[in-house]
């Protein structure tokens, strides 16, 4: 991605998953090392912790959203990425992220693109919102 192809206000929408599976959550638990049973152990989540069932790690949603960011950044170098966790993500959720270019500027002699990052569930409710910045190659 080069700076001249990008303009403030550009948006990219990416479907992260059509149907978040419990197995994807298990994969995230195993890979990240976060074995909190709230996310993988339905009996614990319901009867031990009082939730309707297991739900995704916030960091799984941030990770899936991160793929939308790196797909956009391409060969550029990610400089910053941050989110606020706004709502829980449940098995079966459809997740869509929208990246919006908020600024293109010079930073230490490089062209840097600033993005607003929002991921919503199938009901349009924000599950994470935040920002990313990348130096373009």
């Amino acid at each position: 991605m080069s700076a001249r192809q990008i303009a403030v206000g550009d948006t990219v929408e990416t479907v992260l998953t059509e149907d978040l599976t419990r197995t994807q959550i298990v994969m995230y638990a195993g890979a990240s090392g976060d074995y909190n049973p709230l996310h993988t152990d339905d009996l614990y989540a319901r009867e031990g912790a009082g939730y309707p069932g297991v739900f995704a790690h916030g960091m799984l949603t941030m990770g899936l959203t991160g793929k939308a960011v790196t797909d956009f950044v391409g060969d550029g170098e990610l400089l910053r990425y941050g989110v606020r966790f706004r709502s829980q993500v449940w098995p079966g959720d459809r997740l869509t992220s929208t990246l919006t270019v908020t600024d293109v500027k010079e930073e230490d002699g490089r062209a840097v693109v600033e993005l607003e990052v929002v991921t919503v569930n199938g009901d349009g409710v924000q599950v994470v919102s935040g920002y990313a910045a990348a130096a373009l190659s």
């Binding site: 890979a31 990240s32 909190n36 790690h57 910053r80 941050g82």
Partner: protein, 158 residues
């Protein structure tokens, strides 16, 4: 302050990349770096990470009963925010030292009258030369009274 050593290996990057939706090809080249949130898997190398069962010790999750232990120390909070600053890409072969320190702490009034305590946890990942590679800043949110859905998610914020 706590500290542990985190060797960056290609197999761990593959497994982590799959777990957040990347095709195997995405990080197959050792020079491709790692997914943006990859340093979370440093938890695997943290000897004191509380959200991993320890042989012979009671565990939070279900077995014969729905829960076998109380939530870990510092539980009862939620992972509210996560921020990363990348000083350079993480690379296969890096041996990172992760050092976690408490950051700022502040309070807000909750909607149901209780107080919410916000705590920052800052983890610096430095390479063998001592240079910063990634700075991770988590914010955990701890309600001062029991909320409808308590969670022990906070330890994941480290």
């Amino acid at each position: 302050m706590s500290s542990y050593t985190f060797p960056v290996e290609s197999g761990q990057i593959l497994l982590f990349a799959r777990s957040v939706g990347y095709p195997d090809s995405a990080y197959a080249d050792p020079s491709a770096g790692a997914p943006p949130t990859f340093v979370q898997s440093g938890a695997q190398y943290d000897p004191d990470y509380p959200l991993r069962p320890t042989p012979g010790e009671p565990w939070l999750g279900s077995g014969k009963t729905p829960s076998g232990a109380k939530p870990p120390e510092g539980g009862g909070g939620l992972h509210g925010e996560q921020h990363y600053v990348y000083h350079r890409p993480v690379r296969v072969g890096d041996v990172l030292t992760a050092t976690t320190t408490p950051g700022k702490s502040w309070e807000k009034s909750g909607r149901r009258g209780g107080k919410m305590v916000f705590e920052e946890i800052v983890t610096e990942f430095r390479d063998a030369a001592g240079e910063l590679v990634v700075t991770a800043r988590a914010v955990r949110v701890i309600p001062s009274q029991v909320v409808e859905s308590p969670a022990a998610d906070a330890a994941a914020a480290r």
